[in-house]
């Protein structure tokens, strides 16, 4: 916890060393009170149920010192960089080269992604990680339809992921249906649940919508945990069949793909196949989103995001617009869920907690709400970052939370880019909508 109040800076920007030290001292004092009991005293239940405690004053001292030092460093940096307005002045030359990079980045990334299994064929770990990243890219793109395009804050997206995963798992283990039959079914079922959720929440906006979707996500998870006869409860579903190459199994048998192609069998074949499968699914999501954005429905989503009241005034049916956004997003979540189930071979309610929803949402927001490339890069950064911190098991989510807060403060509109509506009036509005809201318009 070395997050330091950034607010104190403006007052002391022109002030000298004494003010600087005073701010740092006050911050350190606050930190001392905050950490004194929570960090200074460690409690633990003993074997007989009796609580014991021991002190950790060294840790408190270290944290307080870190806050003191951190305050000074941040204050100095702030004075050195100057006002935040100066940061935004980017020379035109840099800007043009940036846009050049932007134009070629997406195709270059795509070509690199296609070549990943070729380059890293021997490194199983990198292939697994790449599959994981692509799963989150797909989830991010799916949620992007709801949050980024239609502007509906959905905190329960993981529910559709769960519906997709359990649809495939249960259909495949109970009826022996193949992955390729279940995949569209999983998508349809998830879309159905999306509409089911969409109906009641149509009238809600903003924060209320967020809380209701969160509650919905929790309800789905709790039902999965408690409906033991169907879902296996907390034990989950195991023995989910692996996908086949359009009917040809990817195993060591006589009629497997390896035997069929007369090549030596290797377990990597399946990993590579899964990689291209999720890549195809993700690209499908991306392609559909891009196409939909050019259809009237996509335009309506973007208009809905910008101003719902104006939308209604223009005769856009907000009911169907919202429902299609929910259904489309949920459908891609369902596809991703089915893929997740077949990749893992085992699913349990633990994979579908609120943390997953928040992670996917963080990817979308970090990527800049509506920007397809941004979401892909954000997923890479997030999941890659998670892997970097894997050794610090318990600290991982702590770092994730701190990062989320800091990014919101530093770049609330996303790290990579914010997508403006596809069509808008060429003449800029004389008065911004914020001012109109306050009664200036």
């Amino acid at each position: 916890m070395t997050v330091i109040s950034p607010e104190t800076a403006s007052a002391s920007r022109t002030a000298g060393i004494p003010a600087l030290l005073k701010t740092a001292f006050v911050n350190a004092l606050i930190a001392l009170v905050l950490f004194s009991l929570m960090v200074g005293i460690r409690t633990e239940a003993g074997s007989d149920g009796q609580l014991t405690y021991w002190t950790r004053f060294g840790d408190v001292a270290a944290l307080v010192a870190a806050v003191f030092g951190g305050s000074i460093v941040i204050e100095l940096l702030r004075q050195w960089i100057g006002s935040s307005g100066a940061e935004k002045l980017i020379p035109p030359a840099v800007q043009s080269s940036m846009s050049l990079v932007g134009r070629y980045l997406a195709p270059a990334l795509l070509i690199f992604t296609v070549l990943v299994p070729v380059i890293f064929y021997q490194q199983r770990y990198i292939l697994d990680l790449a599959i994981l990243v692509l799963t989150y890219v797909m989830l991010g793109w799916g949620l992007n339809v709801v949050v980024g395009l239609a502007g509906l804050l959905d905190l329960g997206y993981v529910a559709f992921y769960a519906v997709g995963a359990y649809s495939y798992a249960l259909l495949a283990t109970n009826f022996g249906w193949s992955f390729w039959v279940c995949l569209p079914l999983a998508g349809i079922l998830a879309a159905f649940w999306g509409v089911l959720l969409g109906f009641p929440v149509l009238r809600l906006r903003g924060d209320y919508l967020a809380i209701v979707t969160l509650a919905f996500g929790e309800i789905i998870r709790l039902v999965i945990i408690n409906w033991q006869e169907l879902t296996g409860g907390p034990n989950g579903v195991s023995g989910i069949p692996r996908p086949s190459f359009f009917g040809i199994p990817l195993d060591n048998s006589d009629n497997g793909l390896a035997a069929w192609l007369h090549i030596e069998y290797s377990t990597t074949h399946r990993i590579v196949f899964l990689f291209y499968l999720i890549l195809a699914l993700a690209l499908l999501t991306n392609w559909v989103t891009i196409r939909l954005r050019r259809l009237p429905i996509g335009r309506a989503w973007e208009a809905l995001r910008e101003d719902e009241v104006a939308c209604r005034a223009l005769g856009i049916n907000t009911t169907t617009t919202k429902l299609t956004a929910f259904a489309t997003g949920a459908m891609f979540g369902g596809f991703a869920g089915a893929f997740f189930a077949t990749r893992q071979g085992f699913i349990s309610p633990e994979s579908f907690t609120f943390q997953e929803s928040a992670l996917v949402l963080a990817i979308v927001v970090l990527g800049g709400m509506g920007s397809q490339l941004g979401v892909a890069l954000a997923a890479l950064a997030m999941i890659g970052g998670f892997e970097l911190f894997r050794s610090l098991e318990t600290y991982r989510m702590l770092v994730f939370g701190i990062a989320m807060v800091l990014i919101m403060i530093w770049r609330p509109r996303g790290l990579i880019g914010h997508r403006a509506p596809t069509v808008y009036l060429t003449k800029a509005q004389a008065i911004s909508s914020d001012l109109v809201k306050e009664g200036h318009g």
Binding site: M1, I4, I41, A45, P200, I211, A362, M408
Partner: protein, 305 residues
């Protein structure tokens, strides 16, 4: 009938705890217009600080339980209030004029920070304490041997809640700070023009909300005899449901909503199934928002263009 009466008592006690947390949600929403997603975790921090203070006081050899509880209450309120203040300062104040999703996401991040901070600092295992306040009264004993119990701890929870509510109502309706808070709720710009320190008022709102959550944390600790790092999430959502049910922005509504949620949850567990009690609470949130978006005591929101 006796069973019903017993569940009624249990439900009211649980509802008091939810109500105390719900006040924090409803106050912040009324003034800043954001859901303080981290408020449930502030409640959890309050519970932990109460536990640690309690443990320290016991180990100093103090035996007078009322004195211990009073000190625990004050320490936990003070430190948790400082947590509330710091959270607002770090995570929400820089985003006050940002786009509407930003504070919400920052609050979700803060909630993760607090949950995992206490997991890292205090470990993942549940922390039990031995029962501190024992005893109680038997209100009624029926022919088939079923007893309606009213334990001392239940009386304490309800009385503390009533006393705090009285102080709090006085604070909001009669003091300078309360007037400032109501002014900021109606129009921040105008309040600022008339000499109200908006930043300070909002900070104080978070401080009071966190202090009440700390009391709820202590009550939870005494009533259930345990705390763990994950208890803030579900309690937070339920308290928010209570705030919405009562009409968000309305203080008596928050308390009323808290009692309603407590009763619904208790009766659901008693008569239907324990496993689905959270599902029942969350479903009520959805149903209320669909049919009564303004809640029981809320004012209808005017849609501004």
């Amino acid at each position: 009938m006796d069973y019903f009466a017993q569940q009624l008592i249990n439900g009211l006690v649980l509802g008091s705890i939810y109500g105390l947390i719900a006040i924090g949600y409803t106050m912040v929403y009324g003034i800043v217009g954001m859901i303080n997603f981290a408020h449930g975790d502030v409640f959890m921090i309050g519970g932990f600080i109460a536990l640690i203070t309690f443990l320290l006081l016991i180990s100093t050899g103090l035996t007078a339980i009322p004195v211990i509880l009073l000190i625990v209450l004050l320490v936990s309120m003070a430190i948790t209030a400082l947590y509330g203040w710091t959270i607002e300062r770090i995570a929400y104040r820089p985003l006050r004029h940002s786009f509407r999703l930003a504070p919400m996401l920052s609050a979700i991040g803060m909630s993760f920070v607090l949950t995992n901070y206490s997991q890292v600092a205090q470990g993942a295992r549940v922390k039990p304490i031995p029962p501190v306040i024992t005893g109680g009264y038997t209100l009624h004993e029926s022919a088939n041997g079923f007893v309606i119990q009213l334990s001392n701890i239940q009386i304490i929870v309800v009385i503390t809640t009533i006393v705090l509510l009285a102080i709090f109502t006085w604070l909001v309706s009669r003091t300078r700070l309360g007037r400032d808070m109501r002014a900021c709720e109606q129009d921040q710009t105008m309040a600022a023009l008339l000499g109200v320190d908006v930043d300070r008022t909002i900070s104080m709102t978070f401080v009071i909300g966190a202090a009440l959550a700390a009391v709820a944390g202590l009550m939870y600790l005494l009533y259930y005899g345990l705390v763990d790092f994950f208890m803030g999430f579900v309690a937070g959502i339920k308290a928010f449901t209570a705030a919405v049910l009562g009409g968000i922005g309305s203080l008596p509504g928050a308390m009323l909503g808290g009692l309603a949620i407590g009763l619904i949850e208790t009766f659901w567990s008693a008569y239907f199934s324990v496993e689905y009690k959270d599902v029942a609470a969350f479903s009520i949130l959805i149903v209320v928002l669909i049919f009564m978006p303004t809640g029981l005591l809320g004012r209808p929101e005017v849609e501004k263009v």
